[in-house]
């Protein structure tokens, strides 16, 4: 069958991600040739090219495909670092400046995107997510330029998910249609609240009425692909106020909602006020009640929780975020952007965690002089990567699938790591975790407790991992 299906009227070539069945085991059907996507010819260490044996987005075009964790299919995360105003809770890397030299920033985003995509030997960009800052403050042509740049150096399928984060204050219909024309096909609206007093407390620049108008406009232009962000657990917010706010949002929203419990980050105005005692600290019990009752309300409205904070109905999940939680590769572009990919171009062999220079001016100087502004790089060991796979994957409803785990851990299966008696078994017995032939995942009861489950699971993983390393006697060549 064809992998390119129509969902909600939009072609979703990359919906299932660019991964394929593969195996190092005897059961794998070894084939020759080179990976259709990355043309890697199987030179990635530890990888054998195998035939496609399962659901794959590219099944329509059969052929050898390495499909491994190192196969350079990436998502792209360009950052627009500027905001019009500081929000009282936000600790992101953002800058409020009187005037932005947009042409210069655009040129640098384009240059860095191309440099890094080439560095990662990225053959295919599966999704793009414009974050920030406030990327809706950028001109549509800047967005278009970055997408065009990506398409020049890699394969950017026509239907790939391209999301733009937008603030209601910069989401009038004219701008939004400009973004759509530039190639954006999904909008994530930072509504945060539909109560003017709460919006003031959060230091947002928009009113509830403006937020409503922005949602209406977005839904017109991006039907079925508009997401709303909401924040709960504000200092002084009552359970009733949150329930009312959620109800209002449900009456307004499209098919995707993200509900974030407010995190009081150090260095933010709100955190300082709470620490001083000027604002009350929300009690933990109340926060738990708010979260659990919101889950119930959303389920009643037909939403499925597919991640700790993300809810979708009619299949409107964000493929970009899903691939992030699946620990796929991503290339971060722009000031302060984070990335995770293998820099093949520099002879790299291991996935790296990379961070770009945070300050826009310094970043631009670096991009102009060396093509990119990477400030920090740290190689991630196979165990580091597995730990990320676990920590991120368990946040989702699908959990960590056997197949995904296998991509990162050819020697230690999910069963072998967590099926043996130990922490994971105990957590399963308590009903917080489930391990079956398909995946390891949290139960609905376990999901809110994930941060208490993870340290135990990491302990067990490390133990099992070390045991396998020792069995190998310091490393049988897995190639």
């Amino acid at each position: 069958g064809s992998g390119a299906r129509l969902r909600g009227g939009v072609p979703l070539v990359a919906a299932a991600g660019w991964y394929c069945w593969y195996s190092w085991g005897a059961a794998a059907t070894r084939t020759s040739g080179c990976c259709r996507l990355c043309a890697c010819k199987g030179q990635h260490p530890g990888v054998r090219l195998v035939g496609i044996r399962g659901p794959c987005a590219v099944r329509a075009e059969p052929g050898p495909f390495c499909g491994t964790a190192v196969c350079p299919t990436d998502t792209l995360c360009p950052q627009w670092p500027y905001c019009r105003k500081h929000c009282s809770y936000c600790s992101f890397n953002k800058y409020v400046v009187p005037a932005v030299d947009e042409a210069a920033v655009r040129a640098c985003l384009v240059r860095e995107a191309q440099t890094l995509l080439r560095l990662g030997h990225v053959r295919s960009v599966t999704s793009v997510f414009f974050g920030g800052g406030t990327p809706s403050l950028a001109a549509p042509r800047t967005i278009a330029a970055v997408l065009e740049a990506a398409a020049e150096v890699a394969y950017l399928p026509a239907g790939a998910e391209v999301t733009l984060e937008a603030n209601p204050g910069s989401a009038d219909p004219a701008r939004l249609s400009g973004f759509r024309a530039a190639g954006v096909n999904r909008l994530s609206l930072g509504v945060q609240s539909l109560d003017d007093a709460e919006l003031r407390l959060l230091g947002r620049e928009h009113t509830a009425a403006e937020a409503r108008a922005a949602v209406e406009a977005a839904r017109q232009l991006f039907p079925g692909r508009t997401s709303l962000d909401l924040i709960f657990g504000l200092p002084g917010q009552s359970h009733e106020a949150w329930a009312r706010g959620l109800e209002a949002a449900l009456g307004l929203c499209d098919d995707h909602l993200a509900l974030y419990q407010l995190t009081l980050e150090r260095g933010t105005a709100l955190e300082a006020q709470v620490r001083r005692g000027a604002l009350p600290e929300p009690p933990e019990e109340l926060l738990a009640d708010m979260y659990l009752s919101a889950r119930t309300a959303l389920a009643a409205a037909g939403f499925h929780q597919y991640e700790v904070s993300n809810f979708a109905r009619k299949g409107a999940r964000s493929t970009h975020n899903l691939s992030y939680w699946r620990a796929e590769q991503y290339v971060g572009v722009g000031p302060g952007a984070h990335g995770r990919f293998v820099p093949w171009g520099e002879g790299g062999r291991q996935r790296e965690a990379r961070v770009q220079t945070p300050h826009p001016d310094a970043w631009m100087r670096e991009v102009r002089s060396c093509g990119h502004g990477t400030r920090r790089r740290a190689a991630l060991s196979p165990l580091d990567q597995l730990q990320e796979v676990l920590a991120l994957g368990l946040r989702t409803d699908e959990g960590v699938t056997q197949q995904r785990w296998g991509l990162f851990s050819p020697r230690l299966s999910l069963e072998a790591a967590f099926g043996a008696p130990g922490e994971a078994r105990e957590l399963q017995e308590r009903g917080w975790l489930r391990l079956n032939g398909r995946a390891l995942r949290c139960t609905p009861a376990g999901l809110p407790l994930l941060d208490s489950l993870l340290p135990a699971l990491l302990c067990q993983l490390r133990r099992r991992w070390n045991a396998v390393q020792e069995e190998d006697g310091g490393g049988r060549d897995s190639r």
């Binding site: 890397n93 995190t263 975020n321 580091d384 920590a391 308590r430 917080w432 407790l449 340290p455 135990a456």
Partner: protein, 648 residues
């Protein structure tokens, strides 16, 4: 040169305690080449041995500095601040821990006198050391602050001197202060100590006023020692220190005969034999002499390797010429016990050697190896008292740069056994219980005993009400109440020792705005209704939190421990019950509710690196958790509960 270097290094400890000490080092180096003093020039009649005793901060050390200056023993400079207080902690706290001595030469009415100033520790924790120092003296200067008047420690010190039948010269210090009221103090002295008003000397040690009068009185009022050079050697060890190069340096008072290099001597306590390497006087640094004669005070080095070989109170005599030992010798008896553990177990060996070095100089600390599931390997230390414990801990941190965990202090309880089996097991019917794990069951005990002290409190009268309430709250029984003048009252209470070991002094100071003073002396054991209280976490007992307490205090203590433990244990995935129990009976309970939600809301981009770090740290931390049943308790939770509360 080699000798000089060696001496220079042995002086390091001394040098470090003085700022701008270059000149001190030079003086010392020069003194090495000076001629040895001929001590035979000072017959018994021209010798006076005396101590200065005072309440904390009443100016004992400053007066000593002035006496040293006026007699030319040390140069008169601004630097002479409490020369005899050699330890950093002594300077910081204004107290003397180790007694130091100095010989002063003073010409009075044409006669050259040798005045031996024997410094005493300034606190009753060191009561025994004080009494040994005093036994080397014939008189004391009782220093009282002209502003503060008689304080609790003044009373205790007075009685020590009085009981030793010493000549007592009252000295009223700090008359230069604006609020000084020497007349009132003189009246207090008359009323409490029965010393006529006109016998007091009013001085200002700080400004040097009337210091010569003090020296005159010392010579006139204090009798020379009663002893004879022709008698066989009899010398009292009243202090000892340890020198890394020369071994033990014992401070001695010669009560008969004479002593010099080459003499073979015997310790009456250990019966060990030594050959004398060096004798000398303290000025206050060691100054070798040819001999020491009866009546004189000085030091002796005789190849003793450990301070326990030169125990305070011991008598030395000439080999094959035994004498009747001087009375009053006692081994140090610890009154307060506390666990001491390295903050990090990898520091165990460093702490061990620091402890060993420190106990070389302080034989009154008892050391027993101990280990706790929560705190790892460590020691159970016995101290003479609370101050002693604090000073010891501070010296450990300051002088050896070692940070330690000190657990809440406990006192040695006793049990009179009734069970024949247990009596046979212990070989005696009365046992001392230091560790709650050894607490014998009520059914096999006829009586439990707890140590008591007689506390003296002197306070302005307006605080009496509050102080009486505090004392009653501490199970104390009033023994005496006396107005020492129109405004001040002396109270005497019999306290169970464990009621004052933790925070009594702080409580007293805070409710009297710092005006009340407190001192105590050992008052033996009394019967007490003692019980062992266990702390349970989800029904499982936590051994290291078991305590022996008085029945009346069980509820309050149990509640307090549960509350502190609740704050120290992180919430977990299930409810945790923290209970205090006596036997099977639960007397207090705190409940730590289960987590319902703790997953972080947002996890994108840059957050993941930070989150992974945190998660890995938590995973690592799990290894360090102590598992009690299924409850994970961080090690520092016990530390937070067991540790003494910082002083408020």
């Amino acid at each position: 040169m080699h000798l000089l270097e060696k001496n220079y290094f042995s002086l390091k400890g001394f040098v470090r305690l003085h700022t701008g000490t270059v000149s001190v080092v030079c003086e010392k180096k020069l003194s090495l080449f000076q001629e040895k003093i001929d001590m035979s020039a000072y017959p018994v009649e021209s010798i006076r041995n005396f101590s200065i005793i005072a309440h904390v901060d009443h100016g004992k050390s400053t007066l000593a500095d002035r006496l040293l200056e006026i007699t030319g023993t040390i140069a008169k400079t601004d630097r002479n601040k409490q020369v005899l207080d050699k330890l950093q902690v002594e300077r910081e706290r204004g107290i003397t821990v180790k007694a130091q001595s100095a010989s002063l030469f003073y010409n009075y009415k044409g006669v050259n006198y040798l005045l031996n100033l024997i410094d005493t520790p300034g606190h009753v924790d060191f009561n025994y050391e004080v009494s040994r120092s005093l036994s080397a003296c014939q008189g004391v200067l009782l220093v009282v602050d002209a502003n503060e008047g008689i304080q609790a420690q003044t009373v205790a010190n007075f009685y020590l001197a009085f009981e030793a039948q010493l000549a007592i010269i009252p000295v009223i210090n700090k008359i230069d202060l604006k609020n000084a009221d020497p007349e009132r103090v003189e009246k207090q002295i008359e009323k409490l100590f029965d010393i006529p008003v006109n016998e007091c000397i009013r001085i200002s040690a700080k400004q040097g006023t009337n210091i010569d009068k003090v020296l005159e009185k010392v010579i006139e009022k204090i009798p020379p020692p009663q002893c004879n050079t022709t008698d066989p050697l009899k010398a009292l060890v009243f202090d000892s220190t340890f020198d890394h190069y020369r071994g033990v340096v014992a401070n001695i008072a010669v009560f008969g005969g004479e002593i010099q290099k080459g003499h073979r001597i015997v310790s009456a306590h250990t019966n060990k034999r030594y050959e004398v390497n060096e004798v000398g006087i303290l000025t206050p640094n060691e100054q070798p002499t040819h001999k020491l004669y009866a009546g004189q005070v000085g030091y002796l080095i005789a190849g003793m390797k450990e301070v326990t070989e030169a125990q305070i109170g011991d008598t030395l005599f000439m080999y094959k010429q035994p004498v009747e030992p001087l009375p009053g010798f006692k081994s140090a008896k610890p009154m307060v016990f506390a666990g001491m553990y390295p903050v990090d177990q990898t520091e165990y060996n460093n702490l061990k050697s620091a402890l060993e070095r420190l106990t070389l100089n302080d034989s009154s600390v008892t050391v027993h190896r101990d280990s706790s599931l929560a705190l790892g390997a460590g020691w159970r230390l016995g101290f003479l008292g609370l101050l002693h414990m604090e000073v010891f801990n501070q010296r450990l941190e300051q002088e050896y740069n070692t940070s330690v965990i000190l657990t809440a202090p406990t006192v040695p309880y006793k049990a009179v056994l009734s069970s024949a089996k247990l009596i046979k097991e212990h070989g005696k019917s009365e046992i001392t219980i230091i560790n709650p794990a050894q607490f014998p069951d009520k059914h096999s005990v006829s009586e439990y005993l707890e140590p008591t002290v007689l506390g003296t409190i002197i306070t302005p009268q307006e605080y009496i009400g509050k102080i009486i309430v505090l004392c009653q709250d501490r199970r104390a029984v009033q023994k005496e109440m006396l107005y020492i003048d129109e405004h001040r009252v002396m109270l005497k209470y019999l306290f169970p020792l464990n009621e004052i070991v933790v925070d009594f002094y702080d409580a007293l100071k805070s409710l009297s705005s710092g005006y009340a003073s407190f001192d105590y002396e050992d008052a033996g054991y009394q019967a007490a209704d003692l019980i062992k209280m266990d702390i349970l976490i989800n029904g499982n007992p936590v051994e290291e939190l078991s305590t022996i307490i008085h029945n009346d205090k069980a509820y309050a203590t149990g509640k307090y421990l549960c509350e502190r433990l609740k704050d120290a244990i992180p919430r977990q995935l299930f409810e945790i019950a923290i209970q205090a129990a006596i036997g099977k009976k639960i007397i207090a309970r705190e409940t730590l509710k289960a987590y319902r939600k703790n997953v972080v809301a947002k996890c994108y981009g840059g957050d993941i690196t930070r989150r992974m770090k945190l998660l890995k740290r938590q995973a690592e931390g799990k290894k360090l958790m102590r598992k009690i049943g299924n409850v994970e308790v961080p090690r520092d939770a016990f530390i937070r509960v067991l540790k003494r509360q910082p002083e408020k």
